[in-house]
Symmetry: C2
Subunit: 396 residues, 2 copies
């Protein structure tokens, strides 16, 4: 067999992928899934009914290609929604659709980065950023945010930017910490991007999953230096349908559009049709209020169960997103790889899936990411019960 490309071959499998395969290997056992980064609610019936009718009666059109950057009406709907929810005013030409949030991030890194560049990450951070950065021929540079609430480490960020990076990449609301940038933090990041003429990529897939406070859009303070990316995986809840978006300066968006064109030709149409309809229907607001209430309730259920059943765990209440990021080092210690071993123990011995801290950065042993959006309330309590059993039986 001829050789394969070493770069792609060497990239690690995503930990959620590895977990899915482990879950599959465990077969039909009852597992409480606190690991998946998935919504726990279906898209609203009214939009699904509309789509079914569209497919039945729309002739060839609902099956056809769309422009590389997506249907104009869908891009307009995204631009309006960003404005309506407190983001910058952008035109439809400053928005492209992509094949999901991961595709948006990949497009930003490949189309805006250059080989050898350094990308600043604020640890703990989403586990796929590092391999995505490497796939674009770049290197990550880490600064560390500290518990309990993982505020942006402003001095460390400034120093790292001054030492020379070509991009800053972070999620807001954050994965795994649930941190929501303050206006001061958003302004600081925007100013650093302008002062050093570098890109600030803000990944915003949870921008409508906010339970306390408000999402602040850094793009408002530096429209020529910020690219916002996001997805419709969580809201309205179509992760497997693969639709994301990006907005920013036209030249950046055009380069990213080429990446989409040459890797997938166009974003998948069923999701575009669904999202264009969803975002423009007034019932969207009611649906959002519903899932915000439901997810907040699930978060509070998880936190209450944690306080009762795993009293030595440390965490703060995340104001947004899908995750509680818990320090369990009083149970496990902080040894390198210890929570990776713990997560396997919890899955096999207690039937609960969690993501170990090690996946979120080099200094994250002793921590766990717990999803509160996917399982319904009573299953969350059961999951924490199993987690507590695993913590108490774990031998370091």
């Amino acid at each position: 067999m001829p050789r394969v490309n070493e770069l792609w071959h060497r990239l690690p499998e995503s930990p959620t992928r590895a977990l899915d395969r482990l879950l599959e290997a465990l077969g039909r056992r009852d597992i409480v899934n606190l690991a998946a980064g998935r919504p726990g609610l279906r898209p609203p019936d009214w939009v699904l009914e509309w789509l079914a009718d569209r497919l039945a009666s729309g002739g060839l059109e609902p099956f056809g290609y769309t422009p590389s950057g997506g249907l104009m009406e869908a891009r307009e709907a995204v631009a309006e929604d960003i404005w309506e929810t407190g983001g910058p005013r952008v035109s439809w030409e400053e928005v492209i659709l992509t094949a999901g949030g991961q595709s948006s991030v990949a497009a930003a890194l490949h189309a805006l980065g250059r080989a050898g560049g350094r990308v600043l990450l604020v640890e703990p951070t989403w586990f796929s950023y590092e391999p995505l950065i490497r796939s674009a021929g770049m290197e990550p540079v880490f600064v560390t945010a500290e518990p309990p609430d993982y505020r942006l480490p402003e001095e460390a960020v400034k120093e790292a930017v001054e030492s020379g990076v070509s991009m800053i990449l972070l999620a807001d609301p954050d994965n795994p910490t649930g941190r929501l940038l303050t206006e001061g933090e958003a302004r600081l990041l925007a100013e650093l991007a302008v002062d050093h003429d570098i890109w600030l990529i803000v990944d915003e897939p949870y921008r409508t999953l906010v339970y306390e406070g408000s999402k602040v859009y850094p793009a408002r303070y530096a429209p020529d230096h910020v690219v916002g990316v996001g997805a419709f995986s969580k809201d309205p809840g179509i992760p497997g349908w693969r639709l994301g978006y990006a907005y920013g300066p036209p030249e950046a968006i055009k380069a990213m559009e080429r990446f989409v064109e040459y890797t997938v030709y166009c974003p998948p149409r069923p999701a575009q049709e669904l999202v264009a309809m969803y975002l423009r229907d007034p019932r969207k607001r009611e649906f959002r209020r519903m899932f915000q209430l439901e997810y907040r309730k699930r978060r509070d259920t998880l936190l209450k169960a944690l306080a009762e059943l795993a009293p030595e765990a440390g965490y703060s209440k995340p104001p947004a997103g899908m995750f509680v990021y818990a320090d369990v080092s009083r149970y496990t210690g902080r040894g390198r790889g210890v929570t990776v071993r713990f997560a396997e123990h919890a899955l096999r011995s207690a039937g609960v899936a969690v993501i170990p801290g090690e996946f979120f950065g080099p200094r994250q042993a002793g921590r766990l990411r717990l999803t509160f959006t996917y399982e319904p309330g009573e299953r969350l309590v059961e999951g924490v019960r199993r987690l507590a059993t695993a913590l108490n039986s774990f031998k370091i």
Copy 2:
């Protein structure tokens, strides 16, 4: 604004994309579209009805992520379909699903190629191969197939491979010529790949659109050196839903799966669900017979109209695919760029869209690609009437 990546920024827009924008600019005018590479039939109602029911009643599952390489049952269905239609026997682990045919080709080039490598193309060839090759940091090397039937230029291919290429990439059935590789040609390509230990990438999106003769699968003769790629855009007809596939040696497939994982995370689920159901339903055979008959009829309608209305055009009857590749140089000459100017003239003055030969390779001026699958019969005749008007009124 910070810089963007020159490679992605410099890649040309796909000519079908540029055409779509031109069509849009021309507004509501009646245009006969002989340019689009699209099917002219909807997927069968029985599979759409099944999907609508699945979305309505399947809980969270039909919206969720799938494995990076696609749902196991969809991969199994693809493996069975390849075997059933005369291809190699592959297991589901030797198949991955991708976000469309373009994504399959991109995955093969990025995951199996290496920067600086040379990729052999047989001109005329699909216009996106060259920029896709360049996006992976490689260079195309052209050999030329000659009219009227554009057989594989065996000696030139051998010489080029001996001079050093790391991959051969071609479509079978071919775009734009409709050439179907003979068993001898398929064996020759397979042997060259084995003898020189290089990859042979065979792009097979039209493998079931065969009207005379049979599709021969080169992978049967060199399973360790051939990667077959394809798509479901034409059969069952969901181009905008973005689903393609690749099959080949497990290590190659694994590297390509990483490319899919890091560019789109997983292939879009609605298309996977639809295709898994479609490929395993016995009504598939009847649907295929129906569209094969219909497309053959459309091809014959187009050819008959060409013979009558543009008697100086040269072409052969394509046994497969979606296109007639016609030599119109008796009307236009062979000057560099002449058919690009002609295509614009035909669109603006006569209201018919065609793709100029120049897009298919460096020596293709004076030729045109005409799609026979997209427009129904009477529109094809009208399209050729308009084309003849444009040919007769064109000033070189």
